[in-house]
Subunit: 255 residues, 2 copies
DNA sequence: AGCCAGTGTTCGCATATATGAACAAGACCT
DNA sequence: AGGTCTTGTTCATATATGCGAACACTGGCT
């Protein structure tokens, strides 16, 4: 109960369980006991017991030799259900379809979590043959249109300590980012000009369903296909999409 | 170590952690402490500590009052990574795209897990506007083409004790199912004629990447759009898709 | 062959957690 | 208001778990 209690996050073994799952999720691939041990720093024997338990439950799988571990199938179900159960994602569904349809570009729905934005829903662009699963992926706030739109909506946004460089155009200083957020508030939408991924520009707006906003939508475009006309077109459609979702939300709350 | 050790699945608190996540995933929605307590049967106080721990870690979220719990955003990431890290799903990707393209129908990739098949990847049909997230969902083996194809490939398949009725056409007796599996082996592919979902027929084949097979692919069609010609067409394309995937797998193993 | 380094596995004790019972806080009656 | 449920929260102790150290295997090296 004293101030030194920062080391007590609760049930230790539950914490480790999800940290382990998180590790697998971040890294992907298969790892040996010692590799995981080195990464997470738990004692070998504790980790061993934990892994065996999770293997037995199907949340972790091993290779035939039983010595390499990876995430198991039971973990799959969990992710999908967060999205299925979310009313906002549900409401936005049709509008995201529409936005993808009229722009022909990749559309994302993202939610703020700490200093990241988590993709909750997305529509592949018509040009992108392969519909990559991006749901559940995390991207930084400071280098993405989704993230910057959400930061700009916050009266006193908590910026990450260090703004990690993603590309040569990433804004990496706090003053620059604050100036950018001001521009976004004036302009009404956020733009990411290859600040997170080379060759990709994004336009994003925060959904004002609660203050400060937690959800945002964006349209991503290959930089090559971008020009002033297209830019105006995209931002207009994006704002229209926001209206639609906010309208739907309003009528859900006040039937 | 004696025979009565059936009650010791390992680290208790880890088991409960994933059981809790599983509960949220299955049920969706928000639940109070007592509701969860009644469902899972853990002592109130233990559950309380567990929930608080997971809330603090972002794996469980509460409503503003802090009294209703639901699954948290961090759980999202985990599911996606299972699929991203799987070599077979990766290999099948292009072929699934192709199969969806040439049939115009919904295509699924599924993997056996106990008495269920888990969807690992899917392509929406051209007629189905809304690309529903089905990845991670579980369907029974005995009432789906994916499941029956996988059972048929097994020399001595472990049939579920009780074959749950899904529709009026579901095969619910073991003898009937065994006969059906024999027919599938003779025919070369599995058919589900509205046995799992009214109005939906599916064609499925197991991928022979290991024996017994663990993965399968299927094409789903609205029963209305089905006729003998289309049926032959679909099964031919399905078998072709299987060849492609098996071919790709072979060349991945023997470069 | 024998050694060595690295890895997975087991075991007994110190420590953290699980638990039932008691307490607090509302909600809903009458 | 007062009483009576129901539900969330805290606490002390029995109990399960975490831990270091020892053991067992394996493969590579000399």
């Amino acid at each position: 109960m004293d101030a030194s209690e920062r080391t007590a996050p609760g049930v230790k073994s539950a914490t480790r369980t999800v940290e382990l799952l998180d590790f697998f999720a971040r890294q992907g691939g298969m790892y040996s006991l010692t590799e995981i041990q080195q990464e997470l720093g738990y004692p070998k024997s504790s980790l061993y017991a934990l892994l065996r338990t999770l293997v037995q439950l199907g949340w972790v799988e091993t290779d035939p030799t039983g010595t390499l571990y990876r995430i198991g199938m039971r973990a799959l179900l969990v992710g999908a259900s967060y999205i299925d159960g979310d009313p906002v994602v549900g409401m936005a569904h049709e509008t995201l379809d529409w936005l993808a349809e009229v722009t022909g570009e990749t559309v994302h729905f993202g939610r703020l979590d700490d200093h990241d934005v988590v993709y909750l829903s997305s529509r592949p662009s018509r040009h992108n043959l392969r519909p990559v699963i991006r749901v559940g992926r995390r991207v930084p706030t400071h280098s993405t249109s989704l993230g910057k739109a959400l930061l700009a909506d916050h009266p006193d946004p908590a910026l990450p300590k260090k703004l990690e460089r993603q590309t040569e155009r990433t804004i990496t200083d706090h003053d620059g980012l604050r100036a950018e957020l001001r521009r976004i508030r004036e302009r009404g939408h956020a733009i990411d000009r290859e600040e997170n991924t080379p060759g990709v520009c994004c336009f994003g707006v925060a959904l004002r369903l609660q203050r400060p906003a937690r959800d945002a939508i964006s349209v991503s475009i290959p930089a090559i296909r971008l020009n002033e006309v297209r830019e105006r077109e995209i931002s207009a459609l994006l704002l229209q999409a926001r209206e639609r979702i906010e309208y739907a939300a309003y009528h859900l709350i006040h039937p």
